[in-house]
């Protein structure tokens, strides 16, 4: 589908906006659930589309949407690594050690209230642990909770029975709980 973008006629350029609009809401929701921050979600959203264009030559399969979300997820991991906020905040805030970390937030952000900060921090801790899960478990958790896909959609994309998806999600949640119990979070 995306090879059309390279054809570059005026009509086909128009189709670019259709792709951005077509997948925009789903992708933005995914970016927002990962970042829990409007400014960061917007950055991630745009970075993902730029990566898509930069990597068009590498696009091989027919699952454009899956490829798009994979790029977004990888970009998030890149940002995550670069952004000291996550590792320091997660490690320090809840491990009873000293916390000292700048929180990068857009000036326009409305997420500065106490409750939202607490809420966001809890979810970031979970996300940190999701990223430590075995790949198959991480994949289904991201698909179910962060992309809000249904069981049958995940099964179809992974080419496996729905029961396998359910069991992987349960296993993943158990693993998460074990990991976090070890760090006294739950």
């Amino acid at each position: 589908m995306m090879f059309l973008l390279l054809a570059l006629t005026e009509d086909e350029r128009q189709s670019v906006s259709e792709y951005v609009a077509l997948y925009g809401k789903d992708l933005y929701n995914f970016a927002y659930r990962l970042t829990l921050n409007k400014a960061k979600a917007e950055d991630l959203f745009q970075q993902t589309w730029l990566k898509v264009v930069n990597n068009l030559d590498k696009y091989e399969d027919d699952h454009f949407k899956a490829w798009l979300f994979k790029i977004c997820s990888n970009q998030f991991k890149d940002n995550y690594r670069k952004d000291k906020r996550y590792s320091k905040l997660v490690k320090d805030d809840y491990a009873d050690s000293q916390t000292k970390d700048f929180v990068l937030t857009s000036a326009q952000s409305t997420e500065n209230t106490e409750t939202k900060v607490e809420n966001r921090n809890r979810k970031m801790i979970i996300l940190k642990h999701i990223n430590n899960l075995p790949e198959k478990q991480r994949q289904v958790i991201l698909m179910f909770y962060y992309r809000a896909m249904k069981y049958d959609e995940i099964a179809e994309q992974l080419n496996c029975p729905v029961g396998t998806v359910r069991s992987r999600i349960n296993t993943a949640k158990k693993t998460l709980k074990l990991q976090m119990e070890g760090e006294s979070y739950v």
Partner: protein, 336 residues
Amino acid sequence: MFNIEKELDEIRSIDVSPSKNLIDTTTRMVKAKISEYKAVKAKIRRSNIIKLSAMAALPAAASILLAVVIGLVSPRAAAYYTVDINQSIVMSVDEKGYVIDVQGELVTLDEYVLKGETIEYAISQTITFADVTENQHILIGCFGDDKYNNISKNQIAYYLDDADLSVNLLSVHGTMNDWNEAEKLDTSAGLYLLGEFAQINIDTDMDLTALIYIIESSGKNINLLTNLNAEPINYTAPQLEYYINNNYINIYWDYIDYKSLNYDGNITYRLLSADTALELVSDATILDTYSFASWDRQPIDYTLPYDKEHTNKYYAIAAIYDDNTIVLLDEYIYVD
């Protein structure tokens, strides 16, 4: 202590929509990126012979074009920018500083790609797709109110660095009177103003290279000339506030628009704490440091544990500029 299942369900139930502005901006970015891709491929295909013959024809063509162009610039423009490379480009911006019109010989770059972008991005794209050589002089002229005279040359250089380009950016700032005078002479307003500073009457077919040659031959320093009208930097630092939330001290401060304060460079924030206000200046503990560029996103809050170690303390942020100016506001906070 928290419930994983509940937190995950909350994440799944989040339902947000991208703003129209985000979709529009992203679409423009994607289109620009595709045009860039196309232009780079086209550039590779062009032969050197074609390039040379096209270049020879440019000065005359540019002067004719400019005469037409200046009269056509959008009446909604809040300020005009000229970019003199070998040819002259004119961009007009709206009150928020976004490009609304582009006139001139863009060669491999489509005009619509630049519309709606910041002036820094638009200029960097124009330079990227022009035939420039390493360290070539490029003159950016700004004509309009003083508030538009804060173009970030460092940000342009940052964008150019991404394209592996290193050029010598010069900038001049003039009034609408200068703009009108240049229009009467059918010449680029940027070149006209540089000529005025150097006290040289420029000809309509004189390009930037020729003008710089004349200026430097007369013993004048081109870099000093283009800094004549630079606005002074209004140095400042974050003014802190805080609230206590359960076991945390949440320190926060306002976003600072460094561009509007005429600062173009890197800033380092140092979060300081001390037992007395006086010690904030003389003997503070540096709790953390964060550096960013003036055009970049910036930190606006910080969290500390609400415990014995962090209470009964004074806190402030020192802002350190590229020229080693350190600013510490005396409106610190005290957390008891």
